[in-house]
């Protein structure tokens, strides 16, 4: 027994300080399960990174001009084209039995797989197909002649072959005179531009004026009746103008005719690899280059010019070639209009939830409604937009304001306005949530200070709270824009079309045509991938469009995050 306090303390310490056995309880660490958890996260990250890399790589590489090898097959056929992609595939029994023995053993050694390459032979008008599969065992010889050209045409897609002869308004061009050829080509393109400008813009303006006059007469007939004097007066007015229009139209048509005739005289004859020839106008060629004789800078120039064409030109060849400018324009116009509509609706609701509502049943219901709006499938919004906005609201507007255009619908069918309203309804929850967060981040002390200085509630909100919350609201609007740019399902029903004849914003009054159908990047992806003649040919286009769309959306999201972070930095620690 310890006698003194010190001894007692030592004794206790010795009892207490007896070392605990060091056990290794592995089940407590749960290492296997932790690895499964981490593996799931790694899988998720790999999925997204792999996906983005796939899209990025395929999109970036698409416009790079590739070599055009000429492949001679074992049976004597010659195939020339860009190597599109290579894959391993399994041969079926019927295909195997026609092959010679040593090839069969080689395939069997590779467990039944062989590799084949898809060549983009182009020349659809001659071959009736764009692509050709060539298996590796079919190849006898591959070469890359320097005089093989790759042509991009206005119609029928790509052409792979040689230039046989060039006829510039009577002067034949000699073989190697590439400079003169490219200059003549540039001139031909400029001529085509001018013809298009005359036909589309100038004659278009004249047609527009004539159509307006026709509608004026019809409106008069509908309001006054067929035999009324007002109608006769309007008709006389229209007659007077009609002569002038006809004169303008004839002059323009003559000029266009002259240019077209001139254009006809510049021709080029091409021959595909099998020898069959085709003669085109020089202006039918969009771009051409000697595929196997390009230097790195030439390739870069072609690459950049293709990107430029993609971003600034209209589509051709059923959307599988050309550019996506109308789609970019349509997406931008619709998104802007959507933001204009959604901002007041979302901000007002968020203000209500945050500033005016007392906690209780009603606020709960409003929050549940907001979450339900967020959870409703987007296609249901499309159905509602079509049934209510387009058919009922639009139909009534047509009856009242545009009865002279009936039975052709103006607002009674999908268009820019209804699509924007539908998407505004869809993205309202995003704006509400972001605005609520922004309003909550404004310190209460500021509100109290303002009220203490004698401002009314609305004055506080307007001059103190909203300006401080503006960055957060901007974040919400940008996120809503990003969401709206990516939604396709509701737009399929309310106003997006495969090919819009005109842009929704143009030079004719009222400048912003809310009833017109428009094109959309997301729908463009769906359309080119699934509704074109050859989805293999459309795939590069779809990848580039996908890259553009993802870049746009990622850009918008990144902007929103940057704005949000700056907001956080501004307000963290700002108390007074």
């Amino acid at each position: 027994m310890p006698a003194t306090i010190e001894e007692a303390a030592l004794h206790t310490r010795r009892i207490v300080a007896k070392p605990m056995p060091r056990v290794t309880d592995l089940s407590a660490r749960g290492e296997p399960m932790t690895w499964l958890l981490g593996g799931a996260l790694a899988l998720g990250c790999t999925m997204i990174i792999g996906f983005l890399m796939l899209v990025f790589w395929n999109g970036i590489v698409t416009f790079w001009p590739k070599q055009v090898p000429v492949v001679t097959l074992t049976d004597g056929q010659v195939v020339a084209g860009e190597a599109f992609r290579t894959e391993e595939y399994r041969l079926g029994a019927e295909q195997l039995k026609d092959l010679p023995a040593e090839i069969r053993t080689r395939i069997a050694a590779a467990s039944g797989f062989a590799s084949r390459t898809l060549y983009r032979t182009g020349n659809y008008d001659i071959y009736n197909e764009d692509f050709r599969w060539v298996s590796d065992f079919q190849v006898a010889k591959t070469e890359a002649p320097r005089d093989i050209f790759f042509f991009e045409r206005l119609e029928w897609g790509a052409f792979v072959g040689r230039i046989t002869s060039v006829d510039l308004a009577g002067t034949a061009l000699s073989g190697g005179d590439d400079d003169r050829l490219s200059r003549a080509h540039i001139q031909a393109r400029a001529r085509l531009q001018r013809i298009r400008q005359i036909e589309h813009d100038e004659i278009g303006a004249a047609n527009y004026a004539v159509e307006q006059d026709r509608l004026r007469v019809r409106r008069a007939v509908l309001s006054y009746g067929e035999a009324a004097p007002e109608v006769a007066a309007v008709r006389a007015e229209v007659e007077k103008r009609a002569a002038g229009f006809k004169r303008d139209y004839d002059a323009l048509a003559a000029e266009a005719q002259r240019l077209k005739a001139d254009d006809e005289r510049y021709r080029i004859t091409l021959a595909e690899i099998g020898g069959r020839e085709k003669t085109l106008k020089l202006s039918d060629l969009v771009r051409f280059y000697p595929a196997n004789a390009l230097g790195i800078f030439d390739k870069l120039a072609i690459y950049l010019s293709r990107w430029g064409e993609f971003l600034t030109d209209a589509p051709r060849e059923a959307n599988t070639e050309g550019g996506v400018l109308p789609a970019i324009f349509g997406t931008a116009a619709m998104t802007l209009l959507m933001v204009i509509v959604v901002a007041p609706f979302g901000i007002i609701t968020a203000l209500y939830l945050r500033e005016y509502a007392k906690q209780g049943r009603l606020v709960s219901i409003v929050r549940i409604s907001v979450n339900n709006l967020a959870g409703v499938p987007s296609i249901v919004y499309g159905v509602f937009g079509l049934g209510f906005f387009a058919y009922i609201l639009g139909g009534s507007i047509d009856q009242i304001f545009f009865s002279e255009r009936l039975p052709g619908p103006t607002f009674g069918t999908g268009g820019l306005l209804w699509a924007s309203l539908t998407l505004a309804l869809l993205t309202v929850p995003v704006v509400i949530v972001a605005t609520e967060e922004a309003l909550a981040a404004v310190p209460r002390s500021m509100r109290e200070g303002s009220l203490a200085c004698g401002a009314s509630k609305w004055q506080t909100i307007r001059y103190i709270v909203l300006p401080r919350a503006m960055p957060g609201i901007m974040t919400g609007l940008i996120l809503a824009m990003a969401r709206g740019a990516g939604e396709v399902a509701p737009l399929m029903l309310v106003g997006v079309v495969k090919l819009a004849p005109e842009l929704p914003i143009d030079g004719f009054f009222p400048y912003v045509h809310l009833e017109r159908s428009f094109m959309h990047l997301g729908f463009h992806i769906f359309d080119v991938g699934f509704q074109s003649r050859n989805s293999e040919a459309g795939k590069p286009m779809v990848f580039v469009t996908t890259l553009l769309l993802i870049a746009l959306i990622a850009g918008m999201n990144a902007t929103a995050i940057v704005v949000r972070n700056r907001l956080k930095r501004k307000f963290v620690g700002s108390q007074f």
Binding site: T24, E31, F51, S111, N371, V380, S456, L493
Partner: protein
Amino acid sequence: MASTAKTSARFERKRETRKSVLIIDKIADWVIRIGGLMVIVAVFGIMAFLVAVVVPLFTGGRVISSTDKQLEIGDAPILGASVDDYHTLAAKIGADGKLEIFHIATGRRLQGPVLDFGGRRVTAFESTFDWRDVAFGLDNGSVRFGTVVIAGQVITAQQLPAGLQRLDARDQTDGTAVYSTIPGNQFRKIGVTTTLAPPQAVAPEGVAITAIDYHLGGTAERPTKTFVSLDANGVVRLSRAESRVNIMTRQVRTTLTTSEMPMLPQGAVAKKAVTTDKGDQVYVAAESGAIYRFDTRDFGKPMLAETAELLPPGAKLTVFGFLLGEQSLVIGGSDGTVDIYFRLERANAGTTDGFKLVRAHRMEPHRGAVVAFSASQRGKLFVTADAGGEIWLRHSTSEQTMLKLTKTAGAESYRAVLLSPREDGVLAIDGRGKASFWEIAVPHPETTLGTIFGKTWYEGYDSPTYTWQSSAGTDSFEPKLSLVPLIFGTIKATFYALLFAVPVALLAAIYTAEFVHPSVRATVKPIMEMMASLPSVVLGFIAALILAPIVETWISSVLMIFVALPLALLVAAHLWQLLPIDTAVRLQGVPRFAAMFVVLMLTLWLCVALGPAFETAFFAGDLKAWANGSIGTGFGFLFLVAMPLSYLAVFALTRRFAGGWILDQGRALRGARAGAFDTLRWVVSLAAAAVLSAGLAGLLTSIGYDPRGGVVGTYVQRNTLVVGFAMGFAVIPIIYTIAEDALSAVPEHLRAASLACGATPWQTATRVILPTAISGVFAAIMIGMGRAVGETMIVVMAAGNTPILEWNVFNGLRALSANIAVELPEAVRDSTLYRMLFLAALTLFVMTFVVNTVAEIIRQRFRKRAVQL
């Protein structure tokens, strides 16, 4: 002093607030309050609008007006009648061979063309389905064809002849034709034109034709008439008249071939005969209710294929005819029975050609004998009249009685009843010349809750099915609108998507919330959230055009990943356990996570390389052939599926019975030896699980259970596996973000207290954090499910769009959302298909509404509880 007074006077402020500020404040108050509540209006407004568009599907029919007039027509019994599209005129053929025309609204008789039969008596009459072409059977055994056309022509006010008599507010007449006023200051002239061809001998001279059935077919250049005739001796003849028009001389040359049916069995008195457009079957109805079906596919050699007694003994057959499409045979009896029969191929038919008349629909029976019947020229509506004067409008496929038209006072039983061509009127003429006309509206007869959600027996199908097929090429096509395949498709896609997404997202969320360093979390969270911003059209495109072909070629490797990945991670974990504890703790953060990536990459590469070997081992060498059912057994697949279950079973059993002993053994060892012991334990349990699983699979295979045809089946390129993976991209970030937020929101002091008590991070995560956050995690799954249900673009592009009802994961599907997106742009406004698509949208809305509301309530309750902690 004076200066301060002056300055204070100059700078004196008003104490009151300006009026404008108060007014603006009040206005702002109202606007914001109302604006805030508009959200509720929006949600319920959408629902209300959808319901409003859907409700007319179920409203049945209604009578708009009814008139009855006494006609000035002769006494001869009515052989046939027709009415025009606009219910202006009706034409009646009497047994005296006279064609009588009358104006329906007033009953006034008009002058019609005279049909000259050359003194012969008309004994039989029938028209084609559209009432235009007619055939008369005469008492001398010949048949005369003709046309009776009630046609309308639009004329302007200037072309209106003078001296017209006014009949009623709308119509005027010149004695032969009627002029109806139509909008736009125009008139519609409706008149009757007839033609009559020379007689053609069919029956022997002097034997009257008692019944005839007439069909037109062939092409415009070579029209064919097919008709079957019954003569007074009871002989049934099938005849075909083919006309050739000589283009140059415009002469018509007709060749008539006749084939006689074998005599009916003794004692049977044939009453009526019916044939089809192609003349490949002849149905002869005897008075006793028996139907004799002759197979006349070989025109020269008809044979009796089937004898059917379709009515109960004692009942006589009174009504007998086809509906539009010539697949549904309507049988009406003297006991009021109205049944619909199909001719279907049956295995034990007992007939000479393997086909049998099967009763498909039993309609509501009349109280009295059925006396007349008229089929719609557009759909499956038909009208039956009974001896008591009741006229019922019915729809055959949905087995509904749409309208019961009350008989007008004093009417006897009707002799002729007609359903107007546009299905908007019913005309009935009784024996004493009283004509009753009802104007009706039956917009959507084919949809009932039964046809939409239950099995329906459509024409051409062997049995009732769930089918969605909204359009096809022919005019007589019947749209099949059952939502069940679509709802099933949505559920199937959601199920497989969640099966893939929930484990990945939840496990990743737990790891992110509990095990990663804050700097790593700041990198990983945005990466996962980036998945959320991918537009689903992009996901669908990649899934359908890139992923689906790759999966098809490498399917065995893809399936191997599901097995190999968890296995590889577990192996790597056990190897990691062999490390000394200090090293393990030091490398716990980023290096371990990096090692997980490496293991993932290695496993993927391994699966690509070993795919064929995997296929040989479990799927008899060729997965597609195996899935088809052609080779191998289900043993390998069942073994793989049973492995996780048996592993869990072995794990639970070892824990229960040997857990204590294992722990003691493990605690006695140190460092790497403990790790090795644990690895040994794991390998032994794995082997035991494999044995158990093999036993289970063997048992199931031996009792004949084969998963092929159920969960796996024939391989299609765009299948549910691809859709599930692509939807994973869409759903994983949602579940991940919400679950991770829920787990992070658990108060820090709980975590700190648990760790302070000596628990490892793993024990803290599973026993403290997860139970606290369970409702948030549950809400995350529900919201993810809501998103999966509503996903459109991925399903449109990658799911094959086939509305089938199979759980096969290698098969396609058609979901509600994809169906709406594909069909609504082409649906006619306010048609049945349009409203059905709105019903599909309403179903989707209700499904997500329920799921989201439940999730939100749980989430709100969770927030309250977390605050309490």
